[in-house]
């Protein structure tokens, strides 16, 4: 027997400390008193994510969202809302919402989100084409094939203002237009699913959760530019996404939604999967095309651009997975609708993989123009473990670091570029004070040095030199001249590298130097790492006041670095210490610490 109503009280740490537990007790007592215990269930939930406005109470099935609810408010809620069905306006998060009273709730995690790309993820069964069709799937292709000319489709893309979501942000409509304008003949449509940024998995989730949206989008693109063949270049490290795509392609072919004469329109288009082999550089479009052709994945100079001369010398459009996922919606709902979302220069939404030191890590999709603060603190639920926000990193190894002073920057392509980062593919890594910026720069350079294809000197050699300097600094052997050299090398790499990998590989260095120079100087001059991350700069110390001289640490030390006599304070020889931490771990008197 179902209850009539459910009272969800947020049980997150913030709400609890704000009085949430008292609220729960008050509800249970009041409902008992009113004889409603059998009709209303009170449930404590996981963190609902709106921690600044806690304690949060949500009433279902109406979905009313009450904020800053205290013990004294409970009686009113029970009397007004649960008994009489009248929403308590003053406690509502959104007074407007009280008027709407929608059946489906807009929840905090999702509240600031606008799921266009991820519209079907988490809703449909990705291995059932009927699910996709029922949710307006393959409706856009009907419109395109039977009611629009290729030129009109391109116009619609241009009007929408959609920009490439792979990182470069090039207007999709323009790319399609270049290819469409090439003389008729064999043309190709390629989906770049070689998502390589560490920590980015937006494309993977889209392909796993809604593979048909990509197939439909590629077919639309093929029609617009005049291509009869499509390739999805997907990294081999995504077996589930590959499986779901294979199932989807099979289903689409069976129903004639891929192949000859789609839906009787006269337009034919088919898609083939091609797998990467573990090279990040193959996400760069010219290297990707080389890989499909069976050659070594090394970038080629542009111009000529792939839209003019791509796969096997033919006009080719390459779009990222996320870019493509937007296409069917733009066709169905119109470019005008799409262009109203976002900012003046960056239309639509962006999917971010919010990871790092946040409470609610996951995949989010927000309209362009949402601020970092909203993403990290509202949607993300703030910094884990009560730590302090230090910086956010966007754009993966090509991106930059964003310090607290820019938290209220509305996110779009231009704004991020201005502050020295890039949108990138959507990786958003949140850092707290226990993260060291020099270490982060080193992590990214380690990646790009390994992934550099080796063709051009600025990236191949410059990247390694940068990494060596960063290692030097984190090892405590850095000098001020190292900073000057790093800046010179970064400049040369940015201007003289052949492809985007090399051109942007120095961004983590450039942006950390720009905003955290003092932290670099601390490493260099004071041989100190304030985050406690760089192991060579950590020092273990024995507090003579607390040390009882039990000699346990000296016996545990694998390097023989601790000396002292029984019942006398012991001392650590820093030159021998290998920073393993065994002494601190074993000391029963808390006399050893590190920093």
């Amino acid at each position: 027997m179902a209850y009539e109503s459910y009272v969800l009280v947020c049980g997150g740490t913030a709400c609890c400390s704000g009085g949430g537990t008292d609220v729960v007790e008050a509800f249970k007592k009041e409902l008992d008193a009113q004889g409603l215990s059998g009709k209303v269930q009170v449930v404590v939930t996981g963190c609902l994510g709106f921690c600044e406005q806690g304690p949060i109470v949500k009433i279902l099935p109406q979905g009313t969202f009450y904020v800053q609810v205290h013990e004294e408010d409970v009686k009113e809620i029970v009397a007004e809302h649960l008994v009489k069905g009248r929403v308590v306006q003053r406690l509502c998060y959104d007074p407007e919402q009280a008027k709407k009273l929608v059946a489906e709730a807009n929840i905090p995690f999702y509240q600031k989100q606008y799921r266009i790309v991820l519209r079907n993820c988490g809703v449909i069964d990705p291995e059932k084409i009927e699910d996709y069709i029922a949710r307006d799937g393959y409706k856009a292709i009907e419109k395109v094939l039977f009611e629009m000319t290729p030129e009109q489709v391109v116009e619609e893309m241009l009007k929408s203002g959609l920009r490439g979501r792979g990182g470069a942000g090039f207007p999709t409509g323009m790319k399609w237009k270049f290819a469409q304008q090439q003389p008729k003949g064999q043309k190709y449509m390629v989906c770049n699913a070689d998502e390589g940024d560490p920590g980015a998995y937006m494309d993977r989730s889209t392909l796993e959760g809604d593979p048909h949206s990509i197939l439909e989008a590629m077919t639309i693109a093929g029609y617009a530019i005049g291509a009869s063949k499509g390739f999805i270049y997907i990294r081999a490290e995504y077996p589930l996404a590959i499986h779901r795509l294979e199932v989807a392609i099979g289903q689409a072919r069976d129903l004639g939604l891929l192949g000859d004469d789609i839906l009787g329109s006269g337009f034919s288009f088919d898609i083939e999967l091609r797998f990467g082999a573990g090279a990040f550089v193959c996400g760069e479009e010219t290297a990707l095309l080389q890989s499909i052709e069976g050659n070594r994945g090394m970038p080629k100079p542009r111009p000529p651009f792939p839209a003019v001369k791509g796969l096997w010398g033919r006009p080719t459009v390459i779009n990222n997975v996320e870019t493509l996922a937007n296409i069917p919606v733009i066709i169905n709902k119109g470019a005008d609708w799409f262009s109203k979302i976002g900012t003046a220069t960056s239309k639509g939404t962006k999917v971010f993989a919010l990871t790092g030191k946040v409470n609610n890590s996951g995949l989010i999709e927000v309209p362009m123009g949402t601020t970092l603060r909203e993403i990290i603190f509202d949607i993300g639920g703030g910094i884990r473990g009560g730590h302090q926000f230090k910086a956010a990193q966007t754009g993966g190894p090509s991106g930059g670091i964003i310090p607290p002073q820019f938290l209220d920057t509305p996110i779009d392509y231009e704004n991020l570029a201005k502050i020295g980062s890039i949108m990138g593919s959507g990786g958003l890594i949140v850092m707290d004070e226990t993260d060291c910026v020099v270490d982060i720069a080193k992590f990214y350079l380690d990646f790009t040095v390994d992934e550099s294809c080796g063709k051009c000197a600025p990236c191949r050699i410059g990247g390694r030199k940068l990494l060596n300097y960063l290692k030097k600094i984190t090892d405590g052997r850095g000098t001020e001249d190292d900073i000057v050299q790093m800046q010179n090398i970064s400049d040369a790499m940015c201007k003289a590298s052949l492809c985007g990998l090399g051109q942007t590989a120095s961004n983590p260095v450039r942006s950390t130097l720009r905003y955290f120079m003092d932290e670099y100087m601390e490493h260099i001059k004071d041989k100190k790492c304030r985050a406690g991350k760089c192991s060579k700069l950590i020092q273990y110390k024995i507090d003579p006041a607390k040390c009882k001289g039990c000699t346990l640490c000296a016996r545990k030390c694998p390097a023989g670095a601790i000396s002292g006599t029984v019942k006398n304070p012991h001392v650590i020889d820093q030159s021998k210490c290998i920073k393993c931490g065994q002494c601190e771990l074993n000391c029963k008197f808390g006399a050893i610490s590190h920093g």
Binding site: Y6, E104, A105, F109, E130, A134, E208, D254, S265
Partner: protein, 131 residues
Amino acid sequence: MAKLTLEDLRRMRGEKQKAMEMRESSNKDVQVVVGMGTCGIAAGAKDTFTALVSAIDEKGLTNVLIRQTGCMGMCHSEPTVEVVVPGMPAVIYGHVDAATAREIVEKHIVGCELIEGKILDRPSIDIIKNG
């Protein structure tokens, strides 16, 4: 299945949409949706799925439709499971291990009671429909 014409596709869409509406309004079926993206599977969603199926079998429930879906986005609390029981609000549970899966079947589906401490919430589907 044969290749679709335009009319076939439209008919298929209409029929499936109608069936989904009917299911929602007729209060006939209970739906359990398990997030089976790679993050979910890595956290154990396949075990969760198996536990749900066996619990449903044990209880002899015949009106429960259990299916998979992609990533719901709340990767910090995988495995995630959405439960839609007619007459009750739809909720998403997080950190659903095999034990919680049994609890969901026993307490939520059979007992019509929400489970303490595990509710995350549900996706706001069809922003597109509404927006």
